[in-house]
C-alpha cells in the first residue's frame, strides 16, 4: 500500500520542525553571529563585525592551554573507558544465559540513570581527603596523612570514566554481538588458543565499535561541566567551565559565543566521524 509520494502524515513533522527551527537552529545561528560582533546589538549602538573574540582565543596561551587540558582529560577518559569497558562489553555480548544478560544490562544502566550531580557527589564522598578511600587507608595504617585523590585531573578522569563507560560498553556490545561466533570457533578448532583467537579474530573485527565508542565518549567528556568543576575543586579550567564563567562572572556573551563555536566545531567533526564509522559497520552487515 506504500505510495511513493509525500502523504498527509508528513504534516505531523511540522510541530517538531518548528521547535527545532525556533529553539535550536535560530539560537545556534545567533550564537555564530554573536561570536563575530563587538557587542550586543540590542542594547549597544555602533555594533560592528569583528574577529577579535577568535583572535583572543588563538593568541592567548591561557585559552589554548584550557583547550588542551579539555582535550587531554577527554583522551584519558576515552582510553580508560575503552580498557575497562571492552571486557564487560565482551562478556555482555557473549554471555549465554538470558538472566545473566539482563543483570549485566541493569548494572550498566543503573549508573546511567543516576544523575550526573549525584554520581559526582558519590565520587567526592569516595575521593576527598576525609573520604571513604582515605579513611580505609588510614585505618589500615597504610597512610598517615590523606592522599590527594581529587582536586586534580586524575580525580576528574576517574569521575568521567564512571559516567561515560556505560556508553562505551553499550556501543561495543552491539558491535561484538554481531561478530559471528563461528569465526572464533573455527580459529580455536584449528588450534589457536582462546587468547590468540581473540587477538586475531574478535579484536580486529570489533575495531569499528572501538572507534565509534571512543568518539562518543570523547565527544561527551569534552563537554562535561559538573564533574570537572566539582572533582577539580574549581582549580582546573576546561572549555565548558570557561564558557559558563564568561557568562556568569564576566557577562562576555561574544567571547562565550566564540568559545561555544570552537566546542561546536570539534563536536560536529566527532559526530560526522562517529556516524561514518557506525554507518560502515551496518553497511558491511547488510552486505553479508
Amino acid at each position: 500500500m506504500a505510495v511513493a509520494r509525500t502523504n498527509g502524515l508528513a504534516l505531523l513533522l511540522l510541530p517538531s520542525a518548528l521547535l527545532f527551527a525556533l529553539f535550536f537552529f535560530v539560537p545556534i545561528g545567533l550564537m555564530a553571529v554573536m561570536s563575530l560582533l563587538t557587542g550586543n546589538p540590542v542594547v549597544a549602538a555602533n555594533v560592528a563585525f569583528t574577529a577579535r573574540h577568535y583572535l583572543r582565543i588563538v593568541n592567548d596561551p591561557y585559552y589554548l592551554e584550557v583547550i588542551w587540558t579539555t582535550i587531554r582529560i577527554g583522551l584519558w577518559t576515552t582510553l580508560i573507558s575503552l580498557l575497562i569497558g571492552y571486557p564487560l562489553a565482551h562478556w555482555m555480548a557473549r554471555i549465554r544465559s538470558r538472566a545473566g544478560h539482563a543483570a549485566l544490562l541493569m548494572a550498566v544502566l543503573a549508573p546511567m540513570l543516576t544523575g550526573v550531580v549525584v554520581r559526582t557527589f558519590a565520587w567526592m564522598a569516595l575521593l576527598s581527603d576525609k573520604g571513604v578511600i582515605n579513611q580505609i587507608l588510614a585505618s589500615l595504617g597504610l597512610t598517615t596523612k590523606p592522599v590527594q585523590l581529587m582536586y586534580n585531573e586524575t580525580g576528574i578522569v576517574v569521575g568521567l570514566v564512571h559516567i561515560y563507560v556505560p556508553f562505551m560498553v553499550l556501543t561495543l556490545t552491539g558491535v561484538i554481538g554481531r561478530i559471528d561466533e563461528r569465526l572464533e570457533q573455527a580459529a580455536e578448532s584449528l588450534g589457536a588458543s582462546p587468547l590468540r583467537s581473540f587477538l586475531e579474530v574478535t579484536l580486529p573485527l570489533s575495531l569499528p565499535g572501538i572507534l565509534a565508542g571512543s568518539l562518543l565518549v570523547f565527544a561527551l567528556s569534552i563537554s562535561a561541566y559538573v564533574t570537572p568543576i566539582l572533582l577539580g575543586g574549581f582549580q582546573i579550567m576546561t572549555l565548558p567551565i570557561l564558557i559558563y564563567q564568561q557568562i556568569s562572572a564576566n557577562f562576555n556573551i561574544g567571547f562565550a559565543a566564540a568559545l561555544g563555536m570552537v566546542l561546536l566545531l570539534v563536536s560536529l567533526l566527532l559526530i560526522v566521524a562517529y556516524n561514518r564509522v557506525l554507518g560502515l559497520v551496518s553497511g558491511q552487515h547488510e552486505l553479508q
Binding site: 535560530v26 539482563a102 540513570l113 543516576t114 549525584v118 579513611q135 566546542l263
Partner: protein, 303 residues
C-alpha cells in the same frame, strides 16, 4: 543515554545456539585432554577475565551504594565503616524548603517536558516512518542531533537568544530547552517500534472496511504505544536529571533539583545530599521498573 545511534540493526544477544555451545565445549574438552598445560592456561585466562569484569562491575556500582550508605549514616560527615542507620538526613531533606521547592519544580518541568517531547516526538516519528518524506534520513539525523551535540551548547545558545530577545528566563523557555534534548529519545523508541511494524495489519483493517482514521486509532496507535511510552519514560528521567541546559536557563529562586544539589555541593558535603540523591535514584528506578514491566527494557537500549 540508551536509545541512540540508529545504525545498529536489531539482534538477539542471548539467543546463542545451544548446539554451538556444546560443540565448543567438546572442542575445548578435547583440547584440554590433549594438552593439560594449555588447559590450565585457558582456565587461568578465564579466571582473569571474570576477575576483571567483576572489578569493573564493582567500579560501576560501588559509588551508588556509597551514596545510599552515606544517606543512612547518622554522622554529619563521611564515615566509613558506617556507625548506624538513621533517617535524619531524609527528615532534613524533606523539611528543607529550598530542596522541596526544587524537587516540586523539577517534577513540574519533567512532566511538562515529557508531555511536549512525547507529543512532538511521537508525531515526528510517524511522519518520518510513514510520511514518505524526501530526505527522511537527514530529518532523522537532525532530530537525533541534540543527543550528541554538547547540551551545554544548547543551553548557551538558548540563553543568548533569550537575552537578545529580552524575554527573561521563563518556564516555557526551560521546558523548550528540555524538550529539545529529550525529543530524540521519543523519536528513537517510537521509530524502533514502527520499523518492526507489520504493515499488513493496517492493510487488513482497511480491506475489512475501516476508514483511514479508524485504522490509525484502532490498529496503528495501540501497536505503537509501547515505543511511545518507553520514549516518554526516558524523556522524564533525562529531563529530571538534566543539568547543562538548566544551568543556563533557570532563574534564581526557581531552580531544578540537580542545580540546587550542585549549588549545595559547592559548599557542603553532609548527608542531606545523600538523602536527596537517594530520593532521585529511587525515582529513576521506579520509573525504569515501570518501563520494564510495561514494555521491556531490552529493545530500547541498543547502541
Amino acid at each position: 543515554m540508551p536509545p541512540f545511534a540508529p545504525q545498529t540493526p536489531s539482534q538477539e544477544f542471548s539467543g546463542a545456539l545451544p548446539a554451538a555451545t556444546s560443540l565448543r565445549d567438546r572442542q575445548r574438552a578435547s583440547a584440554q585432554s590433549r594438552r593439560p598445560a594449555a588447559g590450565k592456561r585457558i582456565r587461568a585466562g578465564r579466571a582473569l577475565y571474570l576477575t576483571v569484569n567483576i572489578a569493573v562491575l564493582i567500579f560501576l556500582l560501588a559509588p551508588i551504594a556509597i551514596v545510599v550508605v552515606f544517606a543512612l549514616n547518622p554522622t554529619p560527615f563521611i564515615q566509613f565503616p558506617p556507625v548506624g542507620v538513621s533517617l535524619r538526613w531524609f527528615q532534613k531533606f524533606f523539611a528543607a524548603r529550598d530542596f522541596m521547592h526544587a524537587l516540586v519544580f523539577s517534577l513540574e518541568v519533567a512532566m511538562l517536558t515529557t508531555a511536549c517531547a512525547t507529543l512532538l516526538g511521537g508525531c515526528a516519528a510517524l511522519a518520518i516512518a510513514r510520511g514518505n518524506l524526501p530526505g527522511a534520513r537527514i530529518v532523522l539525523a537532525v532530530m537525533l542531533s541534540p543527543l550528541m551535540l554538547p547540551a551545554i551548547l544548547t543551553g548557551l545558545a538558548l540563553f543568548q537568544a533569550y537575552v537578545l530577545l529580552d524575554v527573561g528566563r521563563p518556564l516555557w523557555g526551560l521546558v523548550a530547552g528540555h524538550t529539545l534534548v529529550t525529543i530524540p529519545y521519543v523519536v528513537r523508541t517510537t521509530l524502533a517500534v514502527l520499523h518492526n511494524f507489520d504493515l499488513r495489519l493496517e492493510e487488513a483493517a482497511r480491506n475489512l472496511g475501516a476508514s483511514p482514521g479508524r485504522t490509525f486509532f484502532e490498529v496503528t496507535l495501540p501497536l505503537v504505544k509501547p515505543g511511545v511510552l518507553a520514549g516518554a519514560i526516558f524523556a522524564f528521567i533525562v529531563s529530571f536529571d538534566q543539568f547543562p541546559v538548566s544551568l543556563f536557563l533557570v532563574s534564581p529562586g526557581n531552580e531544578t533539583l540537580p542545580i540546587t544539589l550542585f549549588n549545595y555541593l559547592k559548599f557542603d558535603l553532609d548527608g542531606t545530599i545523600g538523602a536527596a540523591s537517594v530520593v532521585s535514584i529511587l525515582l529513576a528506578f521506579l520509573v525504569v521498573l515501570a518501563l520494564d514491566r510495561t514494555v521491556g527494557l531490552r529493545a530500547y537500549v541498543k547502541l
